[in-house]
């Protein structure tokens, strides 16, 4: 029995079942969330190529699946990455218990998670661009639900993903045809820009972040954060696989320089724009851009610790994104807007969603005692230790993001509430809200509990740690 085939069929099954309208939102979200977590557990823990018994039935899971001359392979080096994508999906789909981002959020979201997981398994792995593009196509339905006209953001994402797919396919062909090695820098020099353009799309390097601002204006906040969380995680893992697989990419100092330059530009661009926004969602996407920029600095360090920190920050980002998305969904639904004037004093009206939203925002920004802080602290110390001149961009980015976050804190908890009546939260929404805040703070207080697990996700990419 093929393990990738089980994952593919189970993903399709979950997508179909969670899309049944009669099922209701809460059962559908439970099925999608728990199902995705179960697939994550299978990817991470199932014994491969070893006979085992389930209820007296002898089984042996084959890690390969051949399709039309190409294969999906749950190889030891990437199975933790596949599991990571499914776990992120499960975490985000469980938020659908409270948030209602539209009819297609669960079925299309699961389909996209399956495609992103398959993009990590496909061999040769640079063909993953096509699967990522198909995932972006599924995300169009998540972002542009019928009641929200977020077509602009969704189609920009699709267009960028299509462009990225073309670049990675061309790069795959060039690598195959040119036979690039570390001893042929001129040949590597012609492949690297094409490959870098393909990856830049997935890592939201400007101008490929341009789907985020219109998404912040129109898309459901939870749909937007879910799409961003999944795309950035798969983009990061793909970038790390490129670095792991091609020694000539790792060896090229211009690659590290380009990553650092991209990170600095993202911090600058995000920092300037985050401070100038009058909509919470817009401010958040620019703080997210700062965080992604700091992640690029970690990749640009070119060290094993830098790669581990990039992975750890990616996981912390997912926690922050989920918290912000859920909190803002509840806050904007209660107040009827996410604009500055409408949210003034909203923290007194809806304290739990307000705190959750701010906790998510400040965590992504890297505020002390939140999930996003330890990684940024670690990166600053690491870059300082390495003698990198780029170290001070990390605290600069954190300061810019935190100032933007505190600006919104002062708005949300300023003055008197604009409404006499408090919108009621369901007990489930209250529980998930409080739980979200606790997770953000616990991961900030005790990073040593979660970080080693997260960092272990890329331990299979052995060349990075050689």
């Amino acid at each position: 029995m093929s393990a990738p085939l089980i994952l593919v069929l189970a993903t399709l099954g979950l997508a179909v079942v969670s899309g049944v309208e009669r099922l209701g939102r809460i059962p559908a979200a439970l099925i999608a969330g728990l199902g995705s977590l179960a697939l994550g557990a299978i990817s991470l823990l199932a014994p491969l190529d070893v006979p085992f018994q389930v209820g007296g039935l002898a089984l042996k899971l084959d890690p390969n699946l051949e399709i039309l001359g190409r294969s999906l392979e749950l190889a030891p080096g990437i199975r933790s990455g596949v599991g990571f994508i499914f776990v992120i999906g499960g975490y985000l789909f469980l938020g659908g218990l409270v948030a209602d981002p539209g009819r297609y959020f669960l079925p299309m979201g699961i389909l996209a998670v399956g495609l992103l997981a398959a993009s990590l398994m496909v061999q040769p792995f640079l063909y993953s661009g096509v699967l990522v593009m198909l995932a972006a196509a599924a995300f169009v339905l998540v972002l542009a639900s019928p009641d929200r006209h977020a077509e602009r953001a969704a189609l920009r994402l699709l267009a960028f993903a299509t462009f990225g797919m073309m670049m990675t396919l061309v790069a795959a062909w060039m690598i195959d045809r040119l036979g690039v090695t570390t001893g042929s820098p001129e040949r590597a020099g012609s492949v690297i820009p094409v490959l870098a353009l393909g990856l830049a799309v997935l890592l939201f390097v400007p101008p490929f972040h341009l789907w985020l601002p219109p998404g912040a204006d129109r898309a459901h906040p939870y749909a937007l954060t879910s799409v961003a969380a999944l795309m950035q995680a798969s983009g990061l893992f793909l970038a790390l696989r490129v670095l792991d697989s091609f020694a000539w990419v790792r060896a090229d100092p211009s690659v590290r320089l380009a990553m650092t330059a991209a990170g600095v530009s993202m911090i600058l661009l995000g920092g300037i724009w985050a401070l100038a926004q009058v909509r919470l969602a817009r401010a958040f996407v620019y703080v997210l851009l700062i965080d992604l920029g700091i992640g690029m600095l970690a990749l640009g360090s070119g060290t094993a610790i830098g790669y581990q920190l990039a992975m750890g920050m990616s996981a912390a980002r997912v926690v922050g994104l989920g918290a912000w998305g859920l909190g803002t969904t509840l806050l904007a639904a209660g107040m009827g807007t996410d604009e500055l004037d409408g949210l003034r004093g909203s923290g007194f009206v809806l304290p739990i969603p307000a705190v959750l939203s701010l906790a998510g925002l400040l965590s992504v920004a890297g505020f002390p005692l939140t999930a996003g802080f330890p990684g940024k602290w670690g990166l600053t110390a690491h870059l300082l230790g390495e003698g990198s001149a780029a170290w001070w961009w990390v605290p600069a980015g954190v300061v810019l993001g935190v100032v933007a976050g505190l600006q919104w804190l002062s708005v949300i908890f300023a003055g008197a509430a604009g409404r006499e009546q408090r919108p009621e939260l369901t007990p489930l929404a209250r529980a998930l809200g409080i739980g979200g805040v606790i997770i953000v703070i616990l991961l900030g207080l005790f990073p040593q509990v979660a970080y080693p697990l997260i960092i272990g996700v890329i331990s299979g990419l052995q060349a990075l740690f050689a």
Partner: protein, 205 residues
């Protein structure tokens, strides 16, 4: 494998480029969709003899299927092609014709300098592929309306697939890229029929 003769090849390349220009400059629904179909037919005909026949047929099938999906969707809804542009940006036909001219000239110049390692690609095929990619990208740059973006993507994909199938005619890739064409058309259909074009001020239709 017998390749199409040089004059026919030139005629096919010209037909594909004219179709690409029509997609940008004409507003009649039937002409636009016929041009999209023609671009795919010309591209797949150009591939005959260069790649296994099944690959050429796959491009034709997926392209025609994508065109048919868009045709049926626009029959069942509206044809939101002519809505006014946002912010007074130039969108007139003359402006588009001039831009198309620039793209075609740039592509003809670029094609002469392209040197694909270990692969000989005929100039008409290269001009067709790069021309359609350029014209599709121009469509994406000029408009953010759902239908135009999807047709721009399909145009660019037709060009890309024409070139890429010559370089890498692997069955799995042909199947995946064929499915990409159909998926883009289905998204156009979803946005037209389910979401429906908005009349918002942000230019999104």
């Amino acid at each position: 494998m017998t390749m199409v003769a040089a004059p026919i090849e030139l005629a096919l390349a010209a037909a594909a480029c004219v179709a690409g220009v029509c997609l940008l400059t004409v507003s009649d629904r039937r002409v636009v969709l016929a041009s999209l179909g023609l671009a795919f037919v010309a591209c797949s005909a150009l591939l005959i003899g260069r790649v296994p026949f099944g690959v050429s047929l796959a491009l034709l099938t997926s392209g025609v299927a994508a065109t048919a999906i868009v045709f049926l969707s626009t029959s069942a809804s509206s044809w939101p092609w002519l809505s006014a542009g946002a912010g007074g940006l130039p969108e007139g036909r003359a402006f588009r014709v001039v831009l198309c001219g620039f793209i075609v000239v740039a592509v003809v110049g670029l094609a002469q300098g392209v040197n694909l390692p270990g692969q000989t690609v005929s100039p008409p095929l290269l001009v067709t592929a790069l021309g359609l990619i350029g014209l599709g990208a121009l469509q994406l740059g000029l408009s953010e309306r759902s239908l135009r973006v999807c047709i721009g993507l399909l145009t660019a994909l037709a060009g890309f697939e024409t070139l890429y199938f010559v370089l890498e005619p692997a069955l799995a890739i042909v199947a995946l890229l064929g499915s990409v064409n159909v998926v883009v058309a289905l998204i156009a259909s979803y946005l037209l029929l389910v979401v429906r074009p908005s009349t918002g001020t942000d230019g999104s239709v």
